[in-house]
Structure formats: C-alpha cells, structure tokens
C-alpha cells in the first residue's frame, strides 16, 4: 500500500512539478477566451452556447497530456522496474488513472470559474457544469491513460491517441452537455453511468496495454 501511495504521489509531483500539466488548463482558458471573439460579445447567445463549448474544451484539454502519461515511464524503465517487483499492470494503471484524475481534474475545475465567467454563464449553470465535469473526470482520466498506454510504442502517438479517445468520450460529451438542457433531466444519471463504466473498464484495458508494451 505504501508503494502505491508513493507511486501516486510521484505521478502527481511529476504532473504538477513539470508545469506541463498546466498546458491543458491554459488551453481550456484559451478556448473560453477565443470563443466570444468568434461568435461576438452577445451575452444571451454566449450564455446559451457557452456551456457546450466548455465541455468541448474540457474534452480536448483531456487529450493534450497523453504523450506524457506512459511513454516517459516506459523509456526510463520505471514500468519494467514495477513489473519486476510484481505489481499487477492493472494496479499500476489504476494508480496512474487516479493520479491523472486529481492532477488534471482539480486544475480544470478551478479554471472552469474564470472560463465560465468569460462565457457569461450564471451561477446555476457553472454549478451544473462543475458537477458534470467532476462526474466525467475519472472517465476522461481512464481514457487518457488507456490511449497513452496503447500508443506509447508509436511515433506521434499522441495524435493517434486523440483519435482513439474521441469516439469513446462522445457519450460523456452528450450527457455532460445534456445536463445543461432544462429538459434533459436524466442526463446526470446517464453521465454518471457512462463515467462509471469507462472508469471501471479503464484500469483493465490500460493494464493489458501496459503488458503489451513489454512484448
């Protein structure tokens, strides 16, 4: 257990320490900044469309750090060292997913506040988006680690990784943004269900991919 905690903190430290994990957050804010320039500073229009835009931005921001999640550890021999110590690949994947969910999710939720303000979202909508993102973040982290593990052996893997994730993440986008629709009352439950499914499958699929890296 101490070993897994050490592993979790290492991933978190590397994510925040390197500064590279702020790139998704900056990207998220950039989209929120650029969107009003594109559609015009019409507050009612922004309020109506901004929520969906924030979801698209969050999804794309989740794709950015893919090449940093697994490949450096594989190249440095860290994954081999963990395998020699008998850790199950699923466990390593689960720890990586947890660390990525916290390391990427927390800054994203904080960045949501200024981003939502830029897109004229009122308090209730910000709360809905935040709740939806909080539900979706474990699933986004699971998908990110999965595609990172699948593409760690490929050159230009992060672009392919994005293509791999996107179809799987579409349900999150539909139900997450659907929570903002006044008529979409079941969306939160469906989002939670999809997120749960992806989060549970994630460690097993990513673990199998990590095992495949050694062959």
């Amino acid at each position: 257990m101490t070993a897994l905690i050490a592993l979790f903190w290492r991933d978190l430290r590397r994510a925040w320490g390197s500064g590279a994990l702020w790139i998704p957050v900056v990207f998220f804010l950039l989209v929120a900044t650029a969107f009003p320039f594109a559609v015009g500073p019409d507050a009612p229009l922004l309020a109506k469309t901004g929520g969906g835009m924030l979801w698209v931005a969050a999804l794309l921001a989740a794709l950015l750090p893919i090449d940093r999640l697994v490949r450096p550890d594989r190249d440095a021999g860290v994954l081999d060292q963990l395998a020699v110590r008998g850790f199950a690949d699923e466990l390593i994947a689960a720890v990586k997913i947890a660390a990525h969910a916290i390391g990427f999710g927390l800054p994203l939720l904080i960045a949501l506040l200024p981003a939502a303000a830029l897109l004229a979202q009122d308090g209730a909508r910000v709360a809905t988006i935040a709740a939806g993102l909080a539900l979706a973040i474990p699933a986004l982290a699971a998908l990110a680690v999965l595609s990172a593990a699948l593409t760690a052996n490929l050159k230009g893997g992060s672009a392919i990784g994005g293509l791999l994730i996107l179809p799987l993440a579409v349900p999150l986008l539909i139900f997450g943004a659907g929570m903002l629709d006044p008529s979409g009352r079941g969306a939160a439950k469906l989002l939670a269900a999809v997120s749960l499914l992806l989060t549970v499958i994630g460690p097993f699929a990513a673990g199998a991919a990590l095992r495949g890296l050694r062959e």
Binding site: T2, A3, A6, L7, R10, R14, G17, S18, D75, A76, G77, V78, D80, Q81, L82, A83, V84, R85, G86, R214, E215
Partner: protein, 194 residues
C-alpha cells in the same frame, strides 16, 4: 543449497528469431552466473526472462525470491536529486532509509546525493542504479551490463558489492561482454548456444 532461480528447458524467441532453446540453469544462494557472449546472443533476453518481463516461448522460469534488476534504463527520475530518486524506490520496496544510506555508501555516491539525476554522467547514473539494486534488499540480482560507463574505481565498488551480496546469501545473474574479474563465478557462453 537453497535454490533461488531455476530455468527449465527454456526457449526464447524474439521477433522471428530463435535465440536459444532447451536452456536449463539453477542459481542458488551465494552463487553467481556470468552470461557472456557477443552482442545479440540473447544475454539481455535471458535477464528479462529471469525478471519475468518476457515470457518463455517454451519451458518454465521459477523465481523463489524477489528480484532486483539493472538494465540500460536507470529508472531514476531525472529531475530529482539522486537521494530522493532512490528514496522513491525505497518506499516502493518498503525498505527504510538506512538501506539507502548503506547503498549510497557502497557505491560512493554520498557527494552526489543532492545532484539531480539529469546532471549525472553515464557512469554516475549507473552507480545510482546499482545503489537502487543494493537498497532493494532483493536476494536475486539481475545485472545487465552493470559496468557499462563505469570507471575503474566504480567497477571495484561493483565487484565488492556483488561479493558482499553473495556472502549474505544472495545470488547474482550477470550479463557482461567483458570480464569484471569476479571470483568463483560460473560462466555461460551464450554465443555457444546459438
């Protein structure tokens, strides 16, 4: 004699190439086996088989105890000072700080313990990786070209560490294309297997 590692008629295929087959060996406490042979003879593959990182195409590999592995990747976080990079693996291996202290002393790394791993030279990093192996407390050492990049003095430290490990009842599987001058060591010429 307590057996730590056993290969039973093991075959290894990498890509489409059969590296070796029908290989049997036993490594017991206090023993050392030097795998020698030209590049590509399968020394590293045999080490990775022993570590459980590769699956044998045929036969079985049995490990009775924990392993510590050193290969071309140091597995030390480059941005961390050496001491903290080693402390991470000590936490993973659940050994205390004294084990790291002793390993740092054994590899004469005390003056470098505050230096970030990225700043270390190849040989210094190799010594750091060797300290990681020593600190792990694992009875089976799997050393794949541990002396690469090491200078004369560091090699002396490595030989001494291996001798101390064997005296403590550990076993060493060593792949090296040149002799380290180890005493009382069995040899396996991988070049002759092909």
């Amino acid at each position: 004699m307590a057996e730590l590692l056993r290969f039973d008629r093991v075959a290894c295929i990498r890509g489409d190439r059969l590296l070796f087959e029908g290989l049997s060996l036993v490594l017991a406490r206090g023993e050392a086996l030097w795998l020698r042979g030209p590049n590509g003879a399968g020394k590293s593959s045999l080490i990775r088989l022993a570590a459980g990182l590769l699956r044998p195409a045929a036969g079985t590999v049995t490990r009775r105890e924990r392993c510590a592995l050193i290969d071309e990747a140091a597995a030390l976080d480059p941005e961390l000072p050496l001491r903290r990079a080693l402390d991470f693996w000590a936490r993973v291996d659940t050994v205390d700080g004294h084990a790291v202290d002793r390993a740092i002393a054994a590899m004469a790394l005390a003056p470098l313990s505050d230096v970030p791993v990225a700043m270390l030279s190849t040989g210094q990093r190799k010594r750091g990786a060797m300290a990681r192996v020593i600190a792990s407390g694992a009875p089976i050492w799997l050393l794949d070209e541990p002396a690469n990049g090491m200078d004369e003095r560091a090699r002396g430290l490595l030989v001494a560490a291996i001798a101390a490990h064997r005296a403590n009842g550990g076993a060493v599987l060593l792949a090296s294309h040149f002799s380290l001058g180890l005493k009382d060591v069995a040899q396996l010429d991988m070049g002759a297997l092909a």
